[in-house]
Structures are given as C-alpha cells and as structure tokens.
C-alpha cells in the first residue's frame, strides 16, 4: 500500500530528514518517490533498507550525475528519487552497511557544496527582497509582502549557513589529524 506524507525540512537539516526517512524505513515504510514536501512510502519489511541523501554537483538528469548514479548502483545502492540536485538513495541491509563517504575529505566536499547552495539562495533572496522593497518605496505602495518574505528567507538562510559552517569547521579540524 502507498502512503503519502507531507513533511518539510530546511536544507541544512538534511541529516534530520535522512534520520526521519530511516526511522520510517525501520517501521516498514520505504520511500518510493519524492516531490518537494510530498513523500510517498510503500510498505516494506521493517529495517530492510538504509536511506542516504546526497547533494550532487549537477542535476541528476545530467550525464555526469547519471554516470555516478550507475556507479552507485553497481555497489548495491538504488536510486529512489530526486528533488533539485538532491538524490535519495537506498540500499538493502542484506547488501551490507550504507555509507557514501569514508574519509573526511569527501565529507568536507559535500558540506561545502551544501554551503555554496545555501549562500546562493540566500544572496538571491536578499537581492530580490531589496529590489522589491525599493520598488515599494518608489511607488508608495502600502504592502509588499514579497520583498519582506525574501528578506526573512535571507535571514533564515544566514542561520542555515552558520549551522553548516560550524559542522564543516568541526570536520575540517578532524581532517587535520585523520583522513
């Protein structure tokens, strides 16, 4: 049976999202498709799959990403779905544990990629917000919700940026001593 669940996570809380998806899988609900906030699950044997999420460099539809996904499939992982450049992967427990990175260098690379994405969205929102508010001032309109929302999102983005930065700093420190 299929179950649709709506849930929302900030991008910097991707580890919480991953944890939630694994908790669902442990209960016997395995992710089969994803579209924004809409998660679709199917009944499966509890604990049958481990779920991992990864932000790819390029869209999952691009050949570079496809090659990478094919490589992952050779190692027993399965592609479940994607949202923007995020891919959702799973691996059957019987095929062993599921990790994507085994050294600090690749963990740093992944987090840096997430950081860059947050920074980009943050700046875009800030610019859009500033522009919208400027238009508001120029045109003497009473309300410009769009501009305000953009600025609020930009500030929330700063929070996310700091959150990931701290995590990145921790791993980088660790990387000075261990691979």
């Amino acid at each position: 049976m299929r179950h649709v669940v709506y849930n929302a996570f900030w991008v910097w809380n991707f580890d919480k999202e991953e944890k939630w998806l694994n908790e669902m899988a442990a209960k016997g609900l395995c992710l089969v498709s994803i579209n924004g906030f809409r998660y679709e699950f199917e009944d499966c044997v509890p604990g049958e799959y481990t779920i991992k999420m990864e932000l790819l460099k390029k869209s999952p539809k691009k050949p570079e990403s496809k090659k990478y996904l094919e490589f992952l499939e050779e190692t027993g992982a399965e592609f479940v779905g994607s949202f923007s450049n995020w891919v959702y992967l799973r691996k059957n427990r019987s095929k062993g544990e599921f990790e994507l990175y085994s050294d600090n260098k690749s963990r740093v690379e992944h987090l840096s990629r997430i950081l860059k994405t947050i920074l980009y969205v943050l700046i875009m929102n800030f610019l859009a917000g500033a522009l919208n508010i400027w238009i508001l001032i120029q045109s003497h309109m009473f309300m410009n919700a769009v501009g305000v929302i953009n600025i609020i999102l930009a500030f929330i983005g700063i929070f996310g940026y700091v959150h990931i930065s701290k995590k990145l700093k921790r791993i980088k420190k660790e990387a000075e001593l261990f691979e």
Binding site: E54, Y68, E70, F71, L72, E74, T75, G76, A77, E97, E99, L100, Y101, S102, D103, K105, S106, E109, H110, E179
Partner: protein
C-alpha cells in the same frame, strides 16, 4: 615523485588494481586486504577513481562483457611507481616508529 603521503583509500585502490577490477570489486578487495578495517564508501571511491584517471595512475579498460556498462580499472606504470614510492615512505615511518616507540618500553 611526490613527497606527500597518499591517502589510505588511494593506496588500497592502487594495490587492488594490480589486477583489473570494477568499482565494487575494489571496495570488497580493500575490505578483505585490511581484514575489514578499511571500508571504502562508493562516493569517496568514485571521486578518487576519477582523480586517479586524470593523473594517469590508473586506466579504464573495456569490460569483456559487451552488455555491461560497468567499467574495469587497472594500474598504470606511473601508478606502480607512485605505489612503490609510498611503500618506501611507509617503511621509513614504520622503522622510525618501531625504533622510538618500542625502545621506550
């Protein structure tokens, strides 16, 4: 030859590829060689393989099976030189560690 240390992942990949192997084979071989200590994760392995290909330390070879899109890799002469240089570095590390830490006991 570079003076820097190779990563553990790179050294085990080079050792594995003295025989032609698929990505998954490298993961299994590395785990077996290190008695389960070193588990290469596919994301890390994929990045390392691409860098090694760019450097010319390994090469991609055609799989005998035409239906398969799986790629096999093999170490090059340059890759062997790098692995040998690493072995010398490790020997030095081992000998110095042994000399100083064991004599301290």
């Amino acid at each position: 030859m570079p003076n820097n240390a190779l990563t553990e992942a790179v050294f085990y990949i080079l050792l594995s590829l003295t025989k032609p192997m698929h990505g998954y084979g490298i993961m299994q071989n590395t785990e077996a060689l290190s008695s389960g200590r070193v588990k290469l994760a596919p994301g890390t392995l994929y990045g390392a393989l691409n860098t090694l290909l760019e450097k010319g330390w390994i090469t991609a070879i055609a799989d005998g099976n035409e239906d398969s899109r799986k790629k096999e890799y093999l170490i090059t002469d340059l890759g062997k030189q790098v692995a040998h240089a690493e072995l010398l570095r490790l020997k030095e590390l081992y000998e110095n560690g042994n000399k100083i830490l064991e004599e301290e006991k």
